[in-house]
Symmetry: none
Subunit: 412 residues, 2 copies
């Protein structure tokens, strides 16, 4: 069952405003048994004050034990069950690079690889080349390959061995198998349509195979990067929008392309942001954008990236600093007086784990209809005592809508 | 959605080792309001010490209010949603008796019944005869009926009125209705294929009807046990293995056939155990098997039965003793230094209830990535304060895999 689609029947439009803050990867772990997590170690007087008058809980975006990627984590926060609303790997790569995708375009995730003289795969990642090497080699491919049949071929460097390939042309399908064999010692596979009767996907497969052939030809004198492996051919998914399902006019305030892209998939308008060379996360520019567009929207998704980045770097203190930075911004968010404020993360990224983890993330919900709550701080162990309890899957959207007076009762 | 199948895409093999201990039916209830449960009454210094450095929670294998049988309870622990991964009643009977089933064999659950002279059912359980009576009468049937058409007919005493019937032969289906009418006063039904066009199931139905007819003939002079009722015709289900979905090389250490059988359904290797006439649960033999096979596997399911048996007997003190016995074994398990240790039950069997119950079971998880936890003992009320919260359905497998470093993130 899909709760999201039930909202279609019971939402109502009101002037109330919802502010959703995502502190990417904010959940953490202690550095030693019994020690504080990043959130517990941070000095956060403003968050503490807010937590004392809010409802808290612990949020598991996908399922216990599952560490969500940014796509699934955000979709769950936005109300979309990530086990149902799937985004292909190629599309996620394109979104992460800020490459716009039309409804008929096909995006593919590419790896540069090293092939043996006999055509078998020697290294699926070509020794993880520096990104500059990726750019140099990709420029050769771009110069040599711009169209195949009637399809435009676009290439974008991601990082190291990774690139994105975007096909734009008529009649392309995306039900296509990968050429990446996933192991070394065997030749790359041929792309094939999953259903031989699917002419569009057969065309995409033909073009991908031709591209791989041309790439091998162009790169034949390269000592390391002499082949490509392709996977995750996918079109931009056609999700119901938050306007359709919840009557919202939502805006996204995020600096990194991935998050702007995922927000756009659910029908948010990604607001323009000023540059800020001092801080690529642009917290001040985000606040200015929020204030400038406050009247035009009723739902704001405000994303801060660096809590996750510092966690991935294993930088406990750096993550603490980014939490404290957010705490200093908080009064300016509260000054806008949103009717409903929700603060959470899309997953945990404990500095000691240096990666996305499966541990539940604290949620703080401030709205007009709250019960008493024992949680006194926005930390993992205080949230475990909060009145929202354990929240699993795409349930935050209905909670925000309900507090904002935007939902009628379900059934008579 | 089936989380188990998602694991296929994100698991990775590592040398880390997982030890899963199932104390069958370990959850309990107080004997008087405010009193301790069996777990709370037990003296468990080793478990207490372990609990203080572990994460705890409460596990509901199927759903609130549902008391799981051993099959569904264990499947949920192993990661298989028991509402999706069904095991037929006939197969469960055969597994419980340790009868091996090939993929084409059909197992059926039989009841001895008393029939009236007019052919209607007088007593569906033939007055619950002593198991010795069952054996005596079954021997007559075995002597008279060994094949029907080209199908071998095997008969096994279960207990009281219950027996298992196994059919081995070519082309048998298992989509067959029961002959048990579920009420007295009417004749047994004829077995029929659910779909008349299903020739294999039509064959099975024909053989079951012929068997019932022959049994009546053979038993016509018996005063009480003079008929059979058949139900739950089923083949061994073809579940994806834990090797396929999670890349595991799992082993099962259990003394009772039912648990060995369910473990084999998910692809575990059931390790041989030495006999021990002093204790049919063979705790010392289990420890020896665990140590002997420790290097060859990366996942161990270790089952202890007697906590459940004592609960079913209504023997509160006996159950407490079995818990204390496990506590004394615990240091030997810890000495193996598993990377991840999970201790739970497949359901509660409170001595005051004398049966499987629906109450959640405590879970203890020890692994490298734990948050602070308020629970200080492995008891029901301490577990309710634990950091794992309430765990519903087949979520323990992903939690164990995640702690063992055997899962990549889900989605990019």
């Amino acid at each position: 069952m899909d709760l999201l689609l039930e909202l279609k029947e019971i939402h109502k439009r009101t002037p109330s405003k919802i502010l959703l803050v995502v502190l990417d990867g904010v959940g953490g772990l202690p550095r030693e048994p019994g020690g504080p997590t990043e959130l517990a170690a941070a000095r956060t007087p403003n968050l503490d004050r807010l937590a004392a008058e809010s409802a808290l809980g612990l949020f598991t975006p996908v399922a216990p034990g599952i560490a969500p990627g940014s796509g699934p984590g955000h979709l769950a926060i936005f109300g979309y069950d990530p086990l149902k609303y799937r985004v292909g790997r190629g599309v996620l790569s394109a979104l992460g690079l800020g490459v716009p995708l039309g409804p008929d375009d096909v995006a593919v995730r590419g790896n540069f690889a090293t092939l043996n003289p006999d055509g078998t795969v020697k290294d699926r990642r070509a020794g993880r080349p520096p990104t500059e090497e990726n750019r140099r080699v990709l420029a050769k491919l771009k110069a040599a390959i711009s169209t195949i049949e009637d399809v435009r071929v676009e290439l974008y460097t991601e990082s190291e061995h990774r690139f994105a390939l975007v096909l734009r042309g008529p009649g392309l399908g995306d039900r296509v198998t990968d050429t990446d064999p996933q192991v070394a010692g065997v030749p790359p596979r041929k792309a094939e349509p999953e259903d031989p009767a699917d002419a569009g996907s057969a065309k995409t497969a033909r073009i991908l195979n031709r591209f791989a052939e041309l790439a091998r030809e162009v790169l034949k004198d390269e000592p390391v990067i002499n082949g490509v492996l392709l996977r995750g051919a996918s079109k931009r998914p056609d999700f119901p929008s938050l306007a359709e399902v919840a009557g919202l006019a939502p805006a996204a305030i995020a600096s990194y392309p991935m998050y702007r892209g995922v927000a756009e998939l659910v029908g948010m308008e990604a607001l323009p942001l000023e540059e800020d060379e001092d801080d690529p996360d642009r917290p001040q520019a985000k606040l200015r954008a929020l204030r400038a567009h406050w009247r035009a929207h009723d739902f704001f998704y405000l994303h801060f990236k660096k809590t996750d980045s510092k966690g991935e770097d294993g930088d406990f203190e750096g993550k603490v600093e980014r939490i404290e930075l957010f705490d200093r911004l908080l009064p300016e968010l509260l000054a806008l007086a949103p009717d409903v404020l929700l603060i959470t993360g899309d997953h945990s990224t404990p500095a000691v784990y240096r990666a996305h983890s499966w541990h539940p993330v604290p949620v703080l919900l401030k709205g007009p209809y709250l019960r008493a709550d024992a949680a006194r701080r926005f930390t993992e162990d205080e949230a475990a005592r909060g009145s929202l309890g354990s929240l699993l899957g795409p349930v935050l959207l209905p909670l925000m809508l309900a507090q904002a007076g935007k939902l009628q009762k379900y059934g008579a």
